[in-house]
Symmetry: C2
Amino acid sequence: MAVESKKERSDVSLLRPDCRPRLAENLLQGARKLHAASLSAPLRSVGSGTVLIRPDRPSDGLFHLYRGWATRTRYWTDGRRAILSIYVPGDVIGIESALLDRAPDEVVTVSPAMIHTIDAGTVANLMTSPPTATYIAWLISEAQRRGDGVAGAIGRLDARERLALMLLDFHERLRRRNLASPSSYVLPLTQQHIADHLGLTIVHINRTLHWFRAERIVDIEKHIVTIRDLDRLRQIAMADRALGGAARRTA
Amino acid sequence: MAVESKKERSDVSLLRPDCRPRLAENLLQGARKLHAASLSAPLRSVGSGTVLIRPDRPSDGLFHLYRGWATRTRYWTDGRRAILSIYVPGDVIGIESALLDRAPDEVVTVSPAMIHTIDAGTVANLMTSPPTATYIAWLISEAQRRGDGVAGAIGRLDARERLALMLLDFHERLRRRNLASPSSYVLPLTQQHIADHLGLTIVHINRTLHWFRAERIVDIEKHIVTIRDLDRLRQIAMADRALGGAARRTA
DNA sequence: CGGAGGCTTGAGCGCCATCAACGAGTGTGG
DNA sequence: CCACACTCGTTGATGGCGCTCAAGCCTCCG
């Protein structure tokens, strides 16, 4: 698989003026503005299974998930489905579809949730300010990067690797927001959700989780994930992704 | 798989002021500006295998692919790789990583190409204009939507469906730019590229293509794709994706 | 207490990976 | 001009990871 070409590959090198600082400043400013807009937006409490975004309709705006989890799902006619992304508390929902005239996917809460709702008009106003527009573009970039990680994993990693990657990903995201202890967190997803997210079946998820428990690596009980061997989990997840194509070639 | 819950799902309905026209106008204006910037940017001719974006480095700016194809690839330490997106003539390369401080993936041309190169400084300037910033955000959204399609396909469709979907996708994108006849186009990818893009092996791609030819649906010879039975191809690709989760439930 | 949703486990099989080998086409240097 | 290296495409044999089908269990809740 993926045999490396030995042919020399040329490179495009360009002059790169240092415009990063200004970009970083813009992003920070945009983040503050969006955050402020979110805080002043109405906060509502919704139940599990609430549809936040309906596919093939223009978006109603942005949702800032203050508490609870949600999934973005795509369906096929025969009932197959794929969960393309999973939102944890603190995430912004709807940026991907805010600019599209029809949302490609359905977003549904998978637990009771509290959300700030920024209506479409306000979003349109925010886009008129360069810093917030830039920040929103950055948010979408980040979302895409995350999605690419999952896509690559589904395409090239086996069930254990995918599951390890997902569990670690949730752990890191929650830790960053102080919503997880060093070795444990709450995961309000069913095994069916996990299966649809990782491109596997519920039966295989169940067996793989069983293996993780038997190996004393990760234990999931009652939607509580307990990481017993973080190093081993990281090793399985191949967290050490190669830093580059060319750098990896040692022959 | 994907058993539907019979539990009633509540809905969030919001007031939705009609801000679409202004958004559309902004997008159009942004598109024109970016297009102009692209046209006034230097045009260069590069060979196949040219590295346009190196992973883990800040991006050098944007590339407008005027002629030729390119791939965006992610590598693992053990040599596995995933081609996360494929760029055809007319596509803009580098928007996904323009705002990130390190590009997640490597972008390489897979055929001789001609590209307009917009340097990072110019891009930073473009971001200060709301219409172009909005347009760039829209471009990233579109890119993500496309990536989600591939991700979902890899997770839930089999080899024939994935291949059919990919061949149709290329056909439509090229047709939109008048770069393909109604039933044929040039595809400068090797079977290894296709395999890495669809999460399969080169051997299986080869066998599936053999089947497509035997069934007189699609014929690929010398990098020329000839569609012999478009209806059947569409049928295999399940192009008729469900329009929504709830609408599909008939029980 | 009955029903629904979710979890668990067993048996069998199929899609796709792996390993291996070969041919065609192309560029390269002796 | 031919040997050589290299890439790409092609095909056969074999096996395994994960799917499918099926059944039983647990927990929660009206």
